[in-house]
Symmetry: C2
Subunit: 393 residues, 2 copies
């Protein structure tokens, strides 16, 4: 396997200095490796005044090595997706300074003053602008890459540019396969063994999951982020930024809001079993979910009415139909994300933050039941508020 | 505009002789131009013993010229689609002898002993094997290019190979735009002016048509023929062959059976207004529609059960759900084809075969009403037999 990997700190520093505008010519730079996902190498290059992030994708998964190959095309997709988002909602993505196709590396703005949203929620931090920022991000990135806005030549070119088979395949496996059978990759809490085994026999549920999987495989509605969980979002009180769009492809629009809402629901379930967490904070999470959905769909609807080029898609009756379908899709994908983060291979930090194992079992049991309700009731709930009624208080 | 066009008969003869196996070395060959579609050049090259067809795509529409450009990539798509079909159902497509990418031309088997199916139906010819052959063709070409059979890497590669924006755009316009507004390209019989104007105001219908258009734009289920009307099919008593897959792309499966059934319905409407046509022959057309649909779905279901690689798509409940959706899609697309062939730019030969204008108005009026019923009732009819109940006898 032949590929380039930054050989040492000197090479990383030279790369960052050459391809970003933030460093004074004489600044002394240092390197810190901060890879915290599983897949790529991530470095912070900094002076005493400024810093940037360098990200490099090697042709395999970082934490596993050459035994798990993964297309380096993912970093091109990430770079192009960041550039598209920067044109549509510059405040919601880090600035991309440079993308180097030969090195499969990029240099981007450091958000060192931002906190990972998953950690922020675990710390009961209030993030007042988050729902508005993310509703804006989703409405604009999804609308402007859909058939509502693009003509069919542009849309088909977009589909082609963002064909992303390796990363889609990974999502297909972990979302739609593993959790619905007794798969060796699963990680099932002892308290959930019975419930999981029952789920594997639930024909109606599995039929719905097959429908969602088929949508994921072939419904090319818009360019998705593709992995919009709370770990892909960094926040301050005034700012929310979305990173890591390497799973991007043209897929079903409901997938992005579904994954995001699911991760709020996972936090909600986990915080309910953590000592000392206020009911008020959890109530705030419910409100954020409602604000996210209602803000997103209000803006999407407004864009459908104002910026859609095809008159047939502008009709009020069609917009209403479309948004109702989108809620059903979103709740369905949310259900699959909740379930796979509860019993699948890649779980969430929330579970480890609960300090006793019985409580983990309770929280995970609630999540597993909730995920199934979301999938089974996705077409009948009708509103995000009705969905929130499924939650305990 | 720079392109290659066969300069003369000598060049055509040399091309056909070199790239097909049918001619004796000393055979004297002659050329006949038989272009009968609007788009390409088609020639028959023959000796006294054998013949082949040469088809060439220039970078514009043949009958219009350089003022209507059209990607020559369509002939690559046609050649690749014919090759795929030849592997899956060799009896249902002409043999492709050679595809020349530089010349945008292909040499294929001549079906000189076959009759165009549209003409056969107008001549009240009985084609006993047609339903079985076409059910087989649709079931196999559609199933084996879908996510039921292909793994997601193969499927995404197929989507990319068959991105066909120029020809899709043309379908989008003539199917989903023109007939639903007072478009200058329409050709509306005087007796249908009121009904057409009423349709343009029918909000529920236009919402359904928008849904079908969106499916056409973004539901990448399988590699379609893309233009499977009765003029694309050639028949004898024992053989049925499908030509002209240049509109092929990965789209909604219901489009192919929808277009085919629609063209049977158009023949049915037209023959009802032609003197001397037997009720028995029209009854046979109804039976053929039922046999086409039931044969197609029985084989598709059997393939889903036997050859699907993804267990989740094999479940009986999912297969049943999928086929019910497929009927709704098929009837919807059939409705749009019936309508656009009745009031749009590209109508069918059946209308000219009716010898008095009042009768043309009656037949077209029935077709326009039927098309709307198909679209509006596509989800509730439930069976092909219920759809056939919409027809007069």
């Amino acid at each position: 396997m032949s590929f380039h990997k930054f050989a040492d700190n000197a090479e990383l520093i030279a790369f960052a200095r050459q391809h970003s505008p933030v460093f004074a010519p004489a600044a002394v730079l240092t390197v810190e490796e901060i890879s915290d996902g599983n897949i790529n190498y991530v470095y912070r290059i900094k002076s005493d005044q400024a810093s940037v992030i360098v990200k490099q994708a090697l042709p395999f998964i970082r934490i596993i090595g050459e035994g798990w190959p993964l297309s380096q095309d993912r970093i091109r997709i990430e770079a192009q997706s960041l550039q598209r988002a920067a044109e549509l909602c510059p405040a919601q993505v880090p600035q991309l300074y440079y993308y180097d196709a030969a090195r499969c590396a990029l240099v981007m703005e450091d958000m060192g003053d931002h906190q990972n949203l998953r950690e922020a929620l675990l710390a009961e931090r209030v993030v007042p602008q988050l729902a508005a920022h993310l509703a804006h991000f989703m409405a604009r990135t999804l609308f402007y890459s859909s058939d509502f806005y693009l003509d069919s030549h542009q849309k088909k070119a977009l589909v082609k540019d963002f064909i992303n088979p390796d990363l889609c395949k990974s999502t297909e496996e972990v979302f739609f396969v593993d959790p619905y059978c007794d798969h060796e990759r699963n990680n099932i809490h002892p308290a959930l063994q019975t419930a999981a085994a029952e789920m594997w026999q639930h024909a109606a549920l599995k039929c719905e999951v097959a429908q969602l999987k088929m949508q994921f495989l072939c419904q090319a509605q818009a360019l998705l982020h593709g992995d919009l969980h709370t770990g892909s979002i960094f926040v301050t009180e005034q700012s929310s930024q979305v990173i890591d769009p390497e799973f991007g492809f043209v897929g079903p629009i409901g997938f992005d809001p579904g994954v995001l809402i699911a991760n709020y629901l996972l936090s909600y379930c986990a915080l309910g079993q953590m000592a000392g967490v206020s009911a008020h904070y959890r109530q705030g999470l419910r409100q954020t979910i409602a604000d996210l959905w209602n803000g997103f769909t209000a803006q999407f609807d407004q864009l459908m009415a104002s910026d859609t080029r095809d008159a047939s898609f502008k009709q009020a009756s069609y917009r209403q139909y479309y948004l109702q379908q989108l809620l059903a899709d979103t709740l369905g994908f949310a259900g699959t994300e909740v379930i796979r983060r509860t019993i699948g291979i890649a779980q969430v930090a929330e579970w480890q933050a609960i300090d006793n194992d019985a409580a983990v079992g309770v929280a995970k049991g609630q999540a597993l039941a909730l995920g199934q309700q979301l999938i089974l009731q996705r077409r009948t709930l009708g509103t995000i508020e009705a969905m929130l009624e499924l939650l305990d208080n």
